[in-house]
Symmetry: C2
Subunit: 243 residues, 2 copies
């Protein structure tokens, strides 16, 4: 999980070199190859994400228990036997938990405006490619919450079973929230954004740092950590069904 932070910070820094470019997210704003008959026109981001997932899916990326596609319906038929992930520790009851819709919405509506400069710099394609990398990294991190939740369940199955039987999501959320740990994560992410976003060896007349460390910290505080906890809550509500 800590190494995944570096990947996410790198991806956000790469996205932050381009302006917000709202046309990337607006269906119809960019001419695209015609969608299938009956489909609404996608945004450039949706088109690129779907296409990238189709390529990665053909080599079985999404048969891994720690990968979730944003557009599973668009994945190609499996022409290859699935890889053997017999060692996956996840219980089937919770494995279907999927917050990619929420991640995509938060990314477009909140995260991009937070880290990218306002306006349009014309680099829509570059921004969209960077978006795909961000979304894949964020999705992987958030859905890792399922592995964390399974470990917590095994450590205290009785308590989580009682919460789930009462459909008490708030109790589960309280049980797995540790404010001190979250503060430490946010502080570490801020330090990473400062270190990796620094203008190393720069001439001093450039734009300086590549991303605002407070913005990256806010992305973690306001979206990554809450979404990760939401994955855990949903997993733990479903998990006793597999006992």
């Amino acid at each position: 999980l800590i190494r995944q932070e570096d990947t996410i910070v790198f991806a956000l820094i790469e996205r932050a070199q381009w302006a917000r470019n709202v046309g990337v997210y607006t269906p119809g704003a960019v001419p695209l190859p015609p969608p299938p008959p009956g489909s609404p026109p996608p945004s450039l981001l949706e088109w690129l994400l779907r296409g990238t997932e189709a390529v990665h899916g053909a080599v079985r990326r999404y048969t891994s228990p720690d990968e979730a596609a944003f557009f599973p319906a668009s994945l190609p038929d499996a022409v290859l036997p699935p890889l053997d992930y017999a060692t996956s520790p996840l219980a089937a009851c919770g494995d279907a938990v999927d917050l990619n819709r929420e991640i995509l919405d938060a990314y477009v509506s909140d995260i991009v405006p937070r880290i990218a400069a306002a306006g349009d710099d014309g680099n829509l394609g570059s921004a969209a490619v960077a978006d795909v990398a961000c979304l894949q990294a964020l999705s992987k991190r958030v859905h890792y919450g399922k592995f964390v939740a399974e470990a917590k369940y095994r450590a205290d199955a009785g308590a989580y079973r009682a919460d789930a039987a009462a459909r008490d999501a708030a109790a589960i959320l309280a049980r797995l929230t540790d404010a001190a740990v979250e503060d430490a994560v946010v502080a570490r992410v801020r330090a990473k954004a400062a270190a990796f976003g620094a203008d190393v060896g720069g001439s001093g007349d450039g734009p300086g740092r590549k991303v605002d460390p407070d913005a990256v910290a806010a992305v973690y505080r306001e979206w990554v950590l809450p979404l990760t906890k939401e994955v855990q809550v949903r997993y733990l509500l479903a998990r006793p069904g597999c006992d």
Copy 2:
């Protein structure tokens, strides 16, 4: 060019988290969807690079003068009008210079073994996705040499015309080599690899730095800079034909 260094260093660090995984580069080592009839089986890297370029090409990435596909023959037919790059400063005579074959060979044979740990960790798909990002960043940086060469040509056209008329590649190479500048670039890249590869906020019991700064510096010294100069030499040999 300096911002592109950061992108390349990030991409190399991301690749360095996985082992060398030679199966990524070995045709037939990984089961893949069947190639078109008559085509040899590709490596996983070739398959993924070709598929990614097909998706990016459909939204016209490779109509940009600063982008070159590794598999241009596999790009989809243009279903969209090309974007307007009327402001491209490149001369048509040199625009066709393409070192992607050399970049791909150097990457697989020299760069990956230099930055990745020996052996196989099973993460072939993750390694191949990271490879695609590295190759796209390296290709963009190396082919930027065409823009640098055009500027040099405009500043001293007479000298380059004489060199080109004599087919004197060595003279052109000598004219555009500045050892002090190259030393400064390599030193800056080493500093970036150290800063961005640091284990920020780590517990101290982890693996420490994410990449060897000397390895990244060597990638620049031995491959990126020579390949960039080779692009410039080839461009400048062809360039007077457009006068």
